[in-house]
Amino acid sequence: MVRGTQADGGVHSLDALYAAKEIVIVCGSGGVGKTTTAAATAAMAAVHHGGRVLVVTVDPARRLADALGIGGFGNEARQVPPDAFAAAGVEPRGELWAAMLDARQSWDALVRRHAPDAQTERRILENPLYQNIAGKFVQSHDYIAMERLYELHTEGRYDLIVVDTPPTRNAVDFIEAPARMAEFFSSRLLRLLIVPYRRRVVNLASRPFYQVADRILGSQFLSDIAEFFILFQTMYGGFVARARAVERLLHDKRTTFVVVSTLEAAPAHEAELFLQVLRSKRFHVGALVLNRVLPPYLLDPDGGAAASRLVAGAPDIARRLAPLLDAGEPSVERILTEVGEAYRNLRVVAKAEAAEREELAAVPDVVATAPELDADIHDLAGLLRLGMLIWN
């Protein structure tokens, strides 16, 4: 029996969830600690479950590379040196590897794989439109992240892959990316668009369109677009088949989604929406991780009244406490007032958090909560400390 798995067969901890899956996709809105959560849980899996664990991040922050004790990130995975674990005082059962998603390199690899011949490959890679799509523009990252995941999974080099998802405009964009990409390349409109450039005969029905398009974009740009798509169509079959396979993998029962959020209003709202969308699209939602949650003592039933008494009675209490502290009454009074106010202020926020937590309906079986950490995470030990807090 997998640890953490109860008699009912349900999975009740991240520990059990990660033991049961091969792909964990970590998602949520920006700034909620997604990357850190992905790295921390991957490290925990490497330590406790063993095998070869890979964390793929889209966040180029040096901090994570430093924390993992690897010089830098690239598209090629690197192993976190065993020394880093030794320094953190643990002996891992398995290996931890890390890779960063380089969108440009991944696109180039995709073209090389699907191009029918060397000449087409070269022309695509040199096309100015391609260079823009692959390097600069936003939506292409969603697709390539999922594509890279597929590749890593099918290589079969890892027992568990934990993926940190790209910061999309809309948190669900990336799961739809493979379907959108397949749709795009099989579109009738796309074929219409490139017809005149392929046949050099303008289809009558589409003439007004070309006139307008030509006025807006100019014919050079239009023919650049057309060339790009004509070339891309040579890869059409492979590309669409691949996009479908990626989509199947996301729905596979070995794949699970972990939603990360804080209990601030906006991220919590987005997490709720995200949970709904994942469910309605029949993805497996394994866990919800709530980061930077204020400590429970702020909700102590007597705490609010005690804080009020402290603020109201600060002058009197200070008079009696000052001799004990060998200090002036005014400064003791000020400190007591600040202490009471700090508690009351934080309590307001803690209550708002508790209300957000209540409102998160239909949460997955596993809900893990991590407090606001009092220190930044600088090393593997820090990641593992966070991991420990959410693992069981």
Binding site: V212, A213, L217, Q220, A265, Y297, R309, L321, V332, D374
Partner: protein, 315 residues
Amino acid sequence: MVDLLDRRLVFVTGKGGVGKTTVAAALAALAAGRGRRTLVCEVDAKGNMADFFETGPTQFEERRIAPNLWAMSMDTEASLRQYLALQLHLPMFAAIGPLARMLDFVASAAPGVREIVTVGKLCWEVRERHYDTVVVDASASGHIVSQLSAPEAINQLVQVGLVRQQTGWMLDILGDPATTGLVAVATPDEMPVSETLELVGRVRGETNVDLAAVVVNRVLPELFSRSEEALFGRLGEPRVTASLDAELASPSRPLLDAARLMVTTRRSRTEHLERLRAGTDPAVPLLYVPYLFIRSHGMRATHQVADALAAELGY
């Protein structure tokens, strides 16, 4: 340095979760309150800008939501259609279904078209002087550079045609520091500060947009001076704590823990604030917004942030 609210086009960006929309809403409320005809535009249609003004969902058609204040949300397809109708004098354009669909398709096929119709619409509102101030709740810091550099990128890709003519005036508006400015929002945490410093570098290197200000959001109050902090520490001594418990007729521990949490959190953030200051051009103002001890957003929070910004800007 041109005063922030004297600029006519202000893009507000920042890492996700730092309060970008709050700051954009507050700047718009501030501008409107100072008598400027103001448009606030939400670019990434999360649709929560409306919450900050306690108003219904915003749409592409701008809507008056307060005196001097109009709100809209960006819709690239509607923007493209409006652009075509205006520039190509095709008033019936939207009615020609298949043709409109085709152009939407071009917009998704040709890279940069979406970005440029977004930036173009905003520049156009400025050029036509429909508003005194346009405040943009822009894309997150990961995307803002490709958005702001789209006119330049398109300018290089497209050699002739209307689009080429169009990028010229956009670049003029974006590149004029008296007209356009970027506001980067950060919180004094490690990642947001690192990302902001990186953004500042990229904006300078890859766009011609001027960095108008850095807003540091959610700055915790300093509870104690150094000498007071030592005294506060002594409240944790067993006999002092015992007296305090007796005074309160209740354990004082949670109260002391809460204050300690605030002190340590603030201290760990100080170094990030210093890093932010050190890494930012001294000519760029850093505007501090205090942590609001509420975790929701609404008109009240918008006004509190606007007041804090007004104080920082010397109004």
